[in-house]
């Protein structure tokens, strides 16, 4: 097997971090559709949206149905972010631990933390869902062999009901306020970083983390829950744009297209389409892993994008998932589109220039026998093998490497 990915030191630790992060992201990602539904309704129907509708956006003083019944002044926006989204996360988190049963008790317990606080309780849901499911799982393991035949259903239903009820109360009384305090710290921390223009430093962690496949963990595990709370309060959040900005990846792919190793250039147009329009950022990670110094381009591009977004006061209504230009435009609040596009353009331009310089400098020194040497030669070898395989597979003039292998997304 061609291993031209540089060996990352401490891969065991990396896998562990991926695993924990993947666990957090795994509670959020299956529910992104609900986040997007909420984001669309918010962007369009709230009082400052494109088409304000009071009974949908939930503002003003109205009666929800023509028949005169229903909740007054509620709309869809508030109930979705306060109840639906945390409940889905708590359910999914519980299900990951203990199947359907775990999901049910996770959702019950999540209601406790929701009611016990004044902010959207994503963090609490991510804690209560799996914790409650784990407790039920342990109880199930204990009582399973001790239950008399014919009493299984009775025991099962009541252990779930009792534990769920107890954890909901515990969430309301004890855990909700604790999580509320932690959320308060996190929000003040983010606020401090934004106010002092220190948020671009986040790119130092985010961009290398992305390339190590921690992208979902960082974005959906940490930033999406914090951003959703901020968006509910302010109508938008910059936190959705930290990891998802397609600019840095676009700049790097463009640099590869013009200045990269010749054998890799043909595959980049397809990669650009998949990255920028399809929003699958994973497509550019291998290009950085091949030339690890390019992570500097991603960091500087990301930081420049964040700085631009701070200066223009940009934010998105909900998480643009996947990080495609289309998702970005759909999740931009009314009046913010130019500023959001500027943030992407600046990030792409900076990462393109830095990546181009790094790729150009790399080529001026062909006889670099230091630590870059083996990686570079292996890369070439792999690219050659790839080219040979392509030639064998389809003898003929195929212009782009990617199009031969993947007709679907590029068409």
């Amino acid at each position: 097997m061609s291993e031209y990915t540089p060996t990352v030191t401490g891969t065991g630790a990396k896998a562990r971090v991926q695993k924990v992060g993947g666990y957090l992201a795994g509670m959020v990602m299956p529910n992104i559709g609900a986040f997007i539904a909420w984001g669309l309704i918010t962007a369009i129907f709230i009082e400052v949206g494109w088409f304000p509708v009071d009974r949908i956006g939930g503002f003003g003083d109205y009666v929800a149905t023509d028949a005169g019944v229903g909740l007054t002044g509620v709309g869809l926006v508030g109930p979705m972010i306060y109840y639906l989204l945390p409940l889905l996360i708590g359910y999914t988190g519980g299900r990951m631990v203990h199947g359907q049963r775990g999901g049910v008790v996770g959702a019950i317990a999540t209601v406790g933390v929701i009611v016990g606080t004044g902010v959207p309780m994503f963090l609490g849901a991510m804690a209560m869902g799996p914790l409650t499911a784990w407790i039920v799982k342990k109880i199930d393991e204990f009582v399973q062999h001790r239950t008399k035949a014919g009493f299984e259903m009775l025991v099962d239903n009541f252990t779930a009901g009792i534990v769920g009820a107890a954890m909901a109360i515990a969430g309301l009384v004890a855990i909700g306020p604790i999580v509320d305090t932690i959320m308060g710290w996190a929000e003040r921390g983010v606020g401090f970083l934004v106010d002092n223009s220190l948020l671009p430093l986040a790119s130092l962690i985010i961009e290398p983390g992305k390339v190590l496949f921690l992208n979902n963990a960082i974005n959906h595990g940490v930033l999406t829950p914090l951003g959703a709370a901020q968006s509910q309060a302010d109508g938008k959040s910059i936190l959705f744009m930290l990891e998802t900005n397609p600019g840095p990846g676009l700049g790097i792919l463009l640099a590869f297209m013009f200045f990269g190793p010749r054998l890799l250039r043909p595959s980049t147009p397809a990669a650009i389409v998949i990255h920028f329009f399809g929003g699958i950022h994973e497509i550019y990670f291998p290009y950085i892993l091949m030339k690890p110094q390019l992570v500097a381009a991603a960091i500087l591009g990301g930081a420049a994008g964040i700085l631009t977004n701070i200066m223009t006061g940009s934010g998105l209504v909900a998480s643009p998932a996947p990080g495609s230009i289309f998702a970005y435009m759909l999740m931009t609040p009314r009046g913010g589109h130019l500023a959001v596009l500027l943030g992407i353009a600046v990030a792409a331009a900076v990462s393109f220039v830095v990546a181009a310089l790094l790729l150009g400098l790399g080529r001026k020194e062909p006889a670099e026998a230091d630590d870059d040497g083996p990686a570079a030669s292996e890369e070439l070898e792999a690219a050659r093998a790839e080219a040979a395989a392509r030639k064998a597979a389809s003898k003929g003039a195929v212009p782009a490497a990617g199009t031969a292998a993947s007709p679907g997304p590029t068409a």
Partner: protein, 102 residues
């Protein structure tokens, strides 16, 4: 070193971190290539790789986790999402019924 006998592969699984993005893309590509070979191609997250998979494809950055889940099932790590030689090798082996070492 594990061997893959192309003729015995009935289910190929592409795994990524979330099982929702890059794995779906690669799985749809491979599925088209193997449409005539009667091979089921699925995509999952690395945590949820099914036990009845015959071959697992995953990015090199996730291979360690995939091997932890996969048991004895061969895990083929690739680096490029488009036109990676390792992926091509597996696909060709299945199409032509060859045996390869991975």
């Amino acid at each position: 070193m594990t061997t893959i006998d192309g003729t015995t592969v009935k289910k190929l699984v592409v795994a990524c971190d979330a099982g929702m993005g890059s794995s779906v893309m690669l799985a749809s590509t491979v599925r088209k290539q193997l449409a005539k070979n009667g091979v089921t191609v699925e995509h999952t997250s690395v945590q949820e790789i099914p036990g009845d998979a015959d071959v697992i494809l995953t990015h090199a950055g996730l291979a360690e986790r995939a091997r932890g889940v996969a048991g004895g099932t061969p895990v083929v790590a690739f680096n490029l999402f488009l036109g990676d030689p390792a992926v091509t090798k597996v696909v060709t082996a299945i199409q032509k019924g060859q045996t390869i070492d991975v």
